[in-house]
């Protein structure tokens, strides 16, 4: 299990990276943490001609508060998301989800941007970013642009990134004190990709009883992070009581129709999504996340 041959270059700026990509005659790939790319290379599932190592591009690092947004640089490691005081304060959903991402050694190298660029439907961060209504910053030949998370995830491993574009940072509206977030997932073993995962952000009014805004995003239940709008509708403007939760669980079949995968039938996967929805809704109501 050894990679096919390829050329390698290390770049120090975004511009250089894009340049190298465009001028490569064969297939080029960016290399960030390598925690998804290297397994694919080792298995010869992927065989680029050129690897462009962006891992030392300074401008892609760091977690900062910019106005009312939390900016997370693409090269931020999973472990930094897990321990960052800024993330804990302004995007606690990510800190909570990060615990479910892989194992310690993978979190030491894997990057936040890499996870979003790859857009594995079972990954935690894409679901969180969508639940948090974040903006994705992308750099290409023609400069930088921002894409709303809603418009970023297009399909199975498919995003708004065009070939040669780099995901540079993610801007997350800093969390408000009245917002509640919850992330939970079901997996066979600790650190495995989820059987079902759910990221949620909610706003409660009327003394914290009535749910007035909600984004529910599932991972591992479709070809991309799946927003569950029918379930959201069933919970909106309710006190998230047992009846409302049941209605939302019922409505979930309009949001999700998972394929059979691994050793789970589509019926079992939908069932697990419903169980998870029940647990997360309960936690949101109790503010117990």
């Amino acid at each position: 299990m050894k990679c096919r041959g390829f050329r390698y270059c290390r770049v120090l700026t975004v511009e250089e990276a894009v340049e190298s990509f465009v001028s490569c005659e064969g297939e080029a790939r960016f290399l960030a943490g390598g925690q998804s790319l290297l397994p694919a290379l080792n298995l010869r599932l992927s065989a680029p001609d050129l690897l462009i190592d962006i891992s030392r591009v300074e401008g892609l690092r760091g977690i900062t508060l910019e106005g009312s947004d939390l900016r997370i640089g693409a090269l931020t490691r999973h472990v930094e998301v897990l321990h960052s005081p800024l993330v804990a304060e302004y995007a606690p959903l990510l800190a909570r989800a990060a615990r479910f991402v892989a194992h310690p050694a993978i979190r030491n190298l894997g990057t936040f941007g890499g996870s979003l660029a790859l857009a594995d439907p079972a990954s935690e961060f894409p679901a969180c970013v969508l639940a948090l209504n974040a903006q994705i910053e992308i750099a290409g030949l023609s400069g930088r642009r921002r894409v709303a998370a809603d418009d970023y995830f297009l399909g199975l491993y498919e995003t708004a990134l065009e070939p040669g574009e780099i995901l540079t940072a993610v801007y997350i509206p800093a969390g408000r004190t009245w917002q509640r977030v919850c992330f939970d997932e079901l997996s066979r073993r600790r650190g495995d990709y989820a059987l079902a995962g759910l990221a949620a952000q909610a706003t409660f009014r009327d003394g914290g009883e009535v749910l007035t805004a909600l984004r529910l995003v599932f991972c591992a239940l479709g070809s991309k992070p799946m927003r569950a709008q029918a379930a959201e509708a069933a919970l909106l403007n309710t006190k998230v009581d047992a009846v409302a939760i049941e209605a939302a669980q019922h409505a979930l079949s309009q949001d999700l129709s998972p394929d059979e995968a691994e050793d789970l039938s589509s019926a079992a996967r939908l069932h697990l999504a419903r169980v998870l929805l029940g647990r997360v809704a309960h936690a949101l109501r109790e503010g117990a996340c």
Binding site: M1, K2, C3, G5, R44, L186, R188, R189, D263, A268
Partner: protein, 791 residues
């Protein structure tokens, strides 16, 4: 005054029975282990294999022209090249009457019979270059219909894997004892259909071999990650027509084996052949994908079983049908029928049951080969037995402990012959049962279970008994013509400074074989263990013997070392007597000192060695100091030693998700004399975890066309630290009287019944829903379906 050397070892407690850490394991903590893949030799080439992508296919043509031109490629060999120098092997033994299996060659010839079957070997300067060239080999295949499900394979219209055999039935056997019809008459009857999935060994170190043939001398030197070097010396010599004395097989550090590394694999034969043809050293280390596709798989049984029980809870008879799918052919040299054979012979072994019927069918399929893996057949036999015993208990209203109490073999019944003909010297079933009851704090956990159930938390408690075969005599393989040694040999030599070197044929894969042998030798000789060094795993260095299989290291290897040690001690005191002019029987050896009847030190072993080796002129004429002894020992008396014990498992089932959390596991085991409790306990724990993996996670899943669906470490779920519980281990000691040491074996006891205990525990938790599950692994989906949460 008694002669000190006559005191049985069991009464001295210096080393045998001591919880000593393993001296030789220290190098692992410094990164200084030496595994086969770590070894580099000059002019070495690396091998990679082209494998059949189909489960069953005819090979029309192989074109290697382009691939040969790739950088670094030395040569590419196909089936015909190796068939010229390798005699085919056939995985049958004569004591399994009527069994049939197709002859095998290193690489597929006209037909490939499983997805993963090697077709060509590339040898190149690096593994990466060999893999590059693989991609340029072109093969013309015609895909054939595949036999995937064992039952389908028995269908008369099924595709045939071995056309010459006429059907896909490799072996069938029946056992009838007593009057089964009567036993089931007027009895309560419980029954179930079981499915045992395929799983595999997933040793941390993949299989690896480095073959180095020297054409100038005809010498073959093989370093191989194996547990049975002598067996491979024999295989390579016979099948490649080499002088056996010129074949050396070394097993360096071995990163786990568990039975998986004692079978003959096509790749190993191809690598040896490639080295012979090329005259160069050739190394192959399986990558993990290759391991899943070619390391033997285990289990794969469908069992239908019934148990008759009287209304008082007395077990009356078992009726069992087992169909097992073993892959395209029977494994060499031990066959793939031993697993099934042990299933149908071990069911019910712990109980007073004389009426018994069982039928076994061993079927060929286009899947990877299935064969012996840790606890061969036992986990299946005891899951079936113990599930049915629990079911019977429920039917007649008894507690699981009580029904076992009423039906176990008891101390007054030994020696005992089971309904299936196994002769059992002595077990301690009832003692282990009561001990488990106590250490589990059974009443308390049952009360806790009931309390939690009212809060919607579903816990389950399960127990499962095992009776395990160890220390096998040639009755296992030898009588059927198998070149599998059941005896062991040991050489002890006193070094020039009075230390001891021990060369023994049992081998080390981390169990601690070398550590216990050192303990036994130090005890038997009467010397300081720090001066004893044990060497294993090299056919040039140690006597020939069976090495590691069927938990025989302590029982057979240990007895060999004990007797060798006693022989050496006798030699030493004889020499000392001659030097000291004192009758030898007045002398003995204590901590490396030669002492007399008054316990006075007369000389040290160091002094004796010095005189013997450097001043032989001072020894009495004609009495050279022969400070090297050899001893061989093979089991005699009972054909096998049987161990026993019982597992307890406490689980919590999330009935919404079907996810099971194992909270705690207990084992009370009896492996006879415990030589080193630290090591026995770790053997048990490791074994338990392999069984729990099988119970909940591990399964080789195949598509309808015979493709392995989850053959990678990301997709095949091995048990990891977070999912495994703490495991408490307790000992009861019933030494075998067939040997002086009294040790049986403990390597497989952990695996033998942990899956059964977990199965019973989950079923105990599900019983409130009127649900049950009889398939392992117990995946979330299967549990959800059992309780009807998913339709």
């Amino acid at each position: 005054m008694s002669n000190a050397s006559d005191i049985p070892f069991a009464k001295t407690t210096k080393y045998i029975g001591a919880a000593l850490p393993r001296a030789t394991a220290k190098r692992f903590l410094f990164g200084r282990g030496r595994y086969t893949d770590d070894i580099e030799v000059p002019r070495m080439l690396s091998a990679a294999f082209l494998r059949c992508p189909y489960a069953h296919a005819r090979i029309l043509a192989i074109d290697t022209t382009n691939a040969r031109k790739f950088p670094g490629v030395h040569s590419i060999l196909t089936g015909v090249d190796l068939a010229r120098i390798c005699r085919p092997w056939v995985g049958t033994l004569t004591h399994f009457a009527g069994m049939k299996s197709a002859p095998q060659l290193p690489l597929a010839m006209e037909k490939a019979v499983w997805s993963g079957h090697p077709i060509a070997i590339v040898i190149a300067e690096t593994r990466a270059q060999a893999e590059d060239a693989l991609e340029a080999i072109q093969v013309e295949f015609v895909e054939l219909p595949a036999v995937v499900d064992a039952l389908d394979g028995l269908n008369e219209h099924s595709a045939l894997i071995n056309e010459a055999a006429g059907d896909n039935l490799i072996y069938a056997t029946q056992i009838e004892a007593g009057t089964i019809a009567q036993a089931f008459e007027d009895a309560e009857i419980v029954e179930a259909d079981f499915i045992f999935g395929r799983h595999t060994a997933v040793t941390m170190e993949p299989r690896s071999i480095l073959a180095n043939f020297d054409p100038s001398t005809g010498r073959l030197d093989v370093h191989q990650s194996t547990q049975t070097p002598y067996q491979f010396q024999d295989v390579y010599a016979r099948h490649f027509n080499l002088s056996e004395a010129n074949v050396r097989v070394v097993a360096p550090d071995v990163g786990g084996s568990f039975g998986m590394k004692l079978h003959v694999y096509h790749e190993d034969m191809a690598v040896v052949g490639a080295s012979i043809i090329s005259g160069r050293p050739v190394k192959f280390t399986a990558d993990r994908m290759e391991s899943f596709a070619s390391d033997i798989h285990a289990r794969d049984h469908r069992v239908r079983a019934r148990l008759a029980v009287s209304s008082e809870g007395i077990l009356r008879g078992f009726d069992v049908d087992d169909v097992t799918g073993v892959g395209p052919f029977s494994t060499y040299p031990r066959t793939s029928v031993v697993e099934g054979n042990q299933v149908v012979r071990l069911i019910g072994a712990a109980y007073r049951v004389t009426d018994y019927r069982a039928a076994l069918r061993v079927v060929a399929q286009n899947k990877n080969q299935m064969s012996q893996y840790r606890a061969v057949g036992h986990p299946v036999a005891f899951a079936v037995t113990e599930y049915l015993v629990d079911l019977a208990a429920r039917k007649v209203g008894l507690d699981p402990f009580e029904i076992r109490r009423r039906n176990y073999l008891t101390q007054d019944m030994y020696p005992h012959t089971t309904a299936t003909g196994y002769q059992i010297e002595r077990l301690s079933l009832e003692i282990c049962l009561e001990k488990l009851h106590e250490v589990m704090d059974y009443a308390a956990i049952v009360a806790e279970q009931e309390r939690l159930r009212r809060t919607g938390v579903y816990r389950g408690i399960g127990i499962a008994t095992y009776v395990e075969i160890t220390n096998p005599s040639p009755a296992f393989y030898g009588v059927g013509g198998g070149h599998v040694s059941a005896q062991d040999g040991c050489i002890l030599k006193v070094t020039q400074s009075g230390e001891i070197q021990c060369m023994i044929s049992v081998t080390e894969q981390g169990q601690g074989t070398e550590a216990i042998i050192a303990q036994i030798v130090a005890e038997a000789v009467g010397t300081d263990i720090a001066t004893v060094r044990v060497f294993t795993g090299d056919t040039d260095m140690t006597p020939a013997g069976g090495a590691a299989w069927a938990c025989r290291g302590a029982g057979v290897g240990g007895e060999t070392a004990l007797q060798a040690g006693k022989k050496l001690k006798k030699r030493i005191v004889e020499v000392a007597g001659a030097i000291l002019h004192c009758p030898a029987h007045h002398l003995t050896l204590v901590d490396g000192r030669i002492v007399d009847a008054q316990q006075h030190t007369r000389m040290t072993l160091r002094e004796l060695a010095h005189l013997s080796y450097f001043r032989s002129d001072l020894l009495p004429a004609g009495r050279p100091a022969e400070l090297t002894v050899a001893h061989h020992h093979g089991p005699s008396g009972f054909p096998f030693a049987f161990t026993n014990g019982i597992h307890g498992s406490l689980v919590e089932v999330d009935v919404e998700t079907g996810i099971v959390k194992i909270l705690k596991h207990w084992v009370v085991e009896d492996c006879g004399t415990v030589i080193n409790p630290l090591l026995v306990e770790e053997q048990i724990r490791g074994g338990v975890v392999q069984g729990l993996g099988a119970a909940l996670f591990e399964e080789c899943r195949y598509s309808a066309s015979g493709q392995l669906l989850n053959g990678s470490m990301a997709d095949y779920l091995v048990p990891m630290a977070c999912e495994m519980p703490d495991i408490e281990v307790y000992h009861v000691e019933t030494p075998t009287r067939d040997t002086e040491l009294g040790a049986k074996g403990c390597g497989e006891a952990g695996t033998a019944a942990s899956s059964a205990a977990a199965l019973n525990a989950v079923n105990n938790a599900l019983s409130v829903f009127g649900a049950s599950i009889t398939q392992i692994p117990m995946t979330p989906e299967r549990i959800l379906r059992a309780i009807g949460a998913v339709g």
